[in-house]
Amino acid sequence: MTTTSDTNIKTYTPISKNEIITNTTYRNNIASNYTELIENFEKSFRYEENKNEYWGPTELSIFYGSPLYIQASETQKITLNHLYWITQYNQTASTEANAVLYNQITEGVFNAVGGYEILCKELSLETEQEHTHIRAFHSVGYATRNALFGNTAFTRPKPIQSKINSSHKSTNISLFLPNLNWESLKEDAWKQISIRLSSGNGKAFYSEYLLSLHKMGKRIPVQTTGLLGQVVPQSVSKLLTTNFGSSPFSACFFYATRYMANMLLKNWEQRYLQHYKYLEQSGRHIPVPVAISYYHMLDESYHTTISQLISQDLYKDFNKPTLYEQFMANAVFYRGQELLLSGLSGVMPSTFRNDGLFLQPLYKILTSPVFSFDHDTALHWLRRALCEEHDGYHMNIKHHHRLITTMKQAFQPLNYLWPVNRQLGIMSSGCSIERNLRANKKDFDLFSKSSEQVKNY
């Protein structure tokens, strides 16, 4: 970095550790061809050509370790292995869509601050790469679902219970003031609140990306899926989005949540990398999804480095957070622990939430041509998988322990976090097979009670 001294003589300050890491990561990332390889693999993917092989280690399969898995045929086991891949990468695609949006918003803040040009270039590059990743996960998922379940059969949603709540309905006030754009006013209010309560320099550091959306008359997107879409209630989603774009601290905090997502991903994707290497070393055929996983993990390693750098070190370059920013950061982190890290799935390895949410898709798998169970048989195997202790739970608890260790190392240095967040208190205390069996039993009973509705569904 070049600076000018008081005497107008140019001096060269030593490049900082953060700059070295940023520059090296960007240089290596731009020189790599992992994204292009993923794109090529995606275009060549045909389910028929990959359907007879496992797409990862057998333990990365839906229902692995449960009584159902033990009695399943080899073909069914392979399909459960494929379904695990597409389910996990469907979730990954949603979280990467979060990254696409928030990378752009936070890059707009770092651009406004100035002096972070290489970092901004790296973030732009990552955003482009995420597009390719999402497309690849979609393509493989789409082709696989269509081959296994036929078009739309698997994604058929739950029945509508009542009238749909539209956010566009007129209020009494808007009837009297028809020209008033309430959504736009609300967004402006969030912006003013965020700027006033943030540690940023007033409007000076407001995200250039958000400004460009305002100028084009576009709404701030609200994402309801992915890590952040699930953690943050829809009602405060826009406020959080505006916060990320209002100050360097909040922009940096986004990377703490991204780092959390990176570690959750790595916890299971590492196994695909090992599987790829095993196939390669033994000269065996490598199915396309395994290759996509392998190159995705390599591509994501740059993103993880940047998440770590910004969340652990770069935030120290800027003003300390205000009480409001500190509260929001801690609330989001706490909720993330509660929702995504403190449960224990009995059927989805390396997933740390209870299985209530998965009951319906699991039921669909069991009644689909993959198993062809009738209603009662499907419920029988679901109950055994979810409400009885089996190897799947014990294996998953090992995945959980490994992740706790990694997470603690990552977030311990963040001194603005509450102790319960820094020490991953919710995550650590929530992991009990007994507790999760109780929660699953409750959800399963509710599900089976509505069996008539399910039967007709």
Binding site: V100, L101, T155, P221
Partner: protein
């Protein structure tokens, strides 16, 4: 020979559809009505996809089916950012016209 070529082009999967916002809205309404097994009249253009019980898996199917209909690839993040028929149609139409 020319007419044969023209027909071949028309029938090929490479034919790109450049629909208006209204046409995309109409396609989405029909699509959702079919998936949800409800009448098109019960579909609200301004209701969030979440309210219909559609989860992120639908984004995968919807993107794939939309791409087949349009004969072109679409920005895969559109369905995450714009979660109503109205907002998705508007932004998709803008994107398509920018590409054309």
């Amino acid at each position: 020979m020319l007419s044969f070529l023209a027909i071949a082009i028309m029938l090929s999967n490479d034919v790109k559809v450049t629909p208006s916002t209204a046409e995309i809205e109409s396609w989405l309404r029909q699509y959702l009505a079919k998936v949800l097994e409800i009448s098109e009249q019960d579909i609200d253009n301004y209701a969030n996809f979440d309210n219909y019980g559609l989860d992120s898996a639908i984004a995968v199917s919807l993107t794939g089916d939309l791409e087949e209909w349009l004969g072109r690839r679409i920005n895969p993040t559109l369905l995450y950012n714009y979660t109503t028929i109205a907002s998705l149609s508007e932004n998709l139409a803008i994107e398509i016209s920018n590409e054309s």
